[in-house]
């Protein structure tokens, strides 16, 4: 196996499962290592047999239709829900044994806003900055970075797009070495999508994006993983992501029907 200094490479295992391997990056553990990861809800498996290594600094797209297990996979990787089988390591820290160490190194931008509806945008950022232990001097500047004006109204009055921008501001505030994004383009207008794209490409560190808007998300990533009905079905360069998605689903979903 030749080591390629970019992120993720894939090979089918004996059973035909897609197994990803990180290319060796100069020293240091991979950002994410999942071994035999599976999560069930009751008697239904949300996803199973996921072996994944994401090298530090890599950008991985996880694509798949609704119900393919992307969101659950991200939640398990982010330690918000424990896996039913298997283990997750974040930069070498076992998420089950030492969740605090794993959590301190990552942030998840999820469907739910992760915000306090009764607080204004600036208040939310101030509260979060204190909890993170890195006091924020200028919330207005941070809001401006994501294109939000400092409004005194509570988040309850925000539109979906404004919430998404505020979530991104929270992400920039935490600035973790590992960023997990679940459907970052959902509920955004074209201008918003453009802004989010710019922000994501500006992120430092490792990025994992889960999206069914394959074409748009693939441009931000260098590798891609295709999930289908809870199984990893294909892994390869992001350049071929649209092709793989289309091959599996038989429809051209390049622009994600957003």
């Amino acid at each position: 196996m030749n080591d390629v200094p970019v992120a993720v490479a894939a090979m089918p295992s004996a059973e035909g499962t897609a197994v990803a391997r990180a290319a060796a990056v100069v020293g240091g553990p991979p950002a994410v290592r999942c071994t035999g990861l599976a999560r069930r809800f009751g008697r239904r498996w949300a996803f199973s047999r996921v072996d994944l290594e994401v090298a530090a600094g890599a950008r991985l797209l996880i694509m798949g239709a609704n119900g393919s297990g992307k969101t659950t996979l991200l939640k398990v990787i982010s330690t918000l829900i424990p896996p039913s089988l298997g283990a997750v390591q974040i930069f070498g820290h076992d998420a089950g044994a030492d969740p605090a160490a794993a959590r301190a190194r990552l942030h998840l931008l999820s469907h739910s806003a992760g915000l306090y509806e009764d607080l204004s945008g600036a208040d939310n950022l101030l509260v979060l900055s204190r909890l993170l232990g890195r006091p924020l001097v200028d919330p207005v500047a941070l809001l401006a970075r994501v294109g939000l004006a400092p409004r005194p109204e509570p988040v309850r009055t925000y539109s979906a797009g404004m919430r998404k921008r505020l979530q991104l501001a929270a992400l920039l505030l935490k600035d973790p070495p590992l960023t997990l994004l679940d459907e970052p383009f959902a509920a955004l207008d074209p201008a918003g999508c453009g802004a989010v794209e710019a922000l994501i490409s500006g992120l430092s560190g490792t990025v994992i994006v889960a999206s069914h808007q394959v074409g748009r998300a693939a441009r931000l990533c260098d590798h891609a993983l295709l999930m289908h009905e809870g199984a990893a079905r294909w892994q390869g360069p992001a350049a071929r992501a649209v092709e793989a998605y289309t091959a599996l689903h038989g429809i051209d979903n390049a622009d994600g029907g957003g």
Binding site: M1, N2, D3, V4, A9, A10, M11, P12, E15, G16, T17, A18, R21, A23, A38, R40, F41, G42, R43, W45, S48, R49, S84, L85, H223, L226, H228, E229, G230, A231, A232, R233, W234, Q235, G236, P237, R240, E243, A244, A247, L248
Partner: protein, 248 residues
């Protein structure tokens, strides 16, 4: 353990038979052979059913607490089933206790309900453990049901002494009250027989319910078989095998 089907005799059937027999003997003795109580007369005979129920109920709730701690500790379905089984039996005994208590209070004190510390405490505990059973019925996810209902059972049980003391002070700092506790000589034998009867019967009932509940809960909490591995998708131009660097 293999699930042998109906018909087989098990330890809980032995306990049930023993409990019923002891209870019957104790009650017949208490009803027809023991002398009438000095102050309460024949009505005092209710104590042969009331006091054993109270003792057994206390033990059943203690077992429920133990099972809840074990369930929290291990996460095993078998303890989860035991929590539900013992909470059910505890609630049954508790409801009987309240009924017997008020039936006893009416001729003795002239009212169906007195705010006697024991009676009041057991009413509060009944509601607490009914809450545990209700909670179990509204949580569909098996792991969550195990954790949350065990937590509720632990909180309910550790509160029992403090409930008892508060109610006791509430009464005694107000007005003195005699409680139904006059046990001597000739009353001991039927009381003991009935008490062991209630305890064995309770253990048998818990065992019976536990076995019935355990099957379902073990299936709920067991890890189902993994789905078959899905075949890897191959795009045109991709090499098979273990090629790295992006191609599959």
């Amino acid at each position: 353990m293999a699930t042998t089907q109906s018909g087989g005799l098990r330890w809980e059937h032995g306990l049930l038979a023993l409990g019923l027999a002891l209870l019957a003997v104790g009650h017949v003795q208490g009803l027809f052979f023991a002398p009438a109580e000095a102050m309460m007369g024949d009505v005092g005979r209710i104590l042969y059913v009331h006091v054993p129920t109270a003792w057994a109920d206390m033990l059943v709730y203690t077992a429920c607490f133990g099972f809840a701690v074990a369930a929290l500790w291990t996460g095993k379905a078998t303890y989860d089933a035991a929590v539900e089984a013992s909470a059910e039996v505890g609630v049954l005994y508790n409801a009987l206790l309240l009924f017997q208590g008020s039936v006893w209070a009416r001729p003795t004190w002239g009212v169906f309900w007195t705010w006697d510390p024991r009676l009041t405490t057991s009413a509060v505990v009944l509601v607490l453990f009914l809450g545990v059973l209700v909670l179990r019925r509204v949580i569909p996810e098996p792991e969550r049901r195990l954790n949350l209902s065990a937590i509720a059972a632990v909180l309910a049980y550790v509160g029992v002494p403090i409930v008892y003391f508060s109610v006791k002070w509430w009464r005694t700092l107000h007005q003195p009250f005699s409680s139904p506790q006059t046990v001597d000589g000739s009353f001991i034998t039927p009381l003991r027989l009935a008490a062991f009867g209630m305890i064995f019967l309770g253990a048998g009932l818990i065992g019976l319910r536990w076995r019935a509940l355990r099957r379902g809960l073990e299936r709920d909490l067991a890890t189902p078989d993994l789905p078959a591995a899905a075949p890897a998708l191959r795009l045109p131009g991709e090499a098979g095998g273990s090629a790295a660097g992006g191609a599959l």
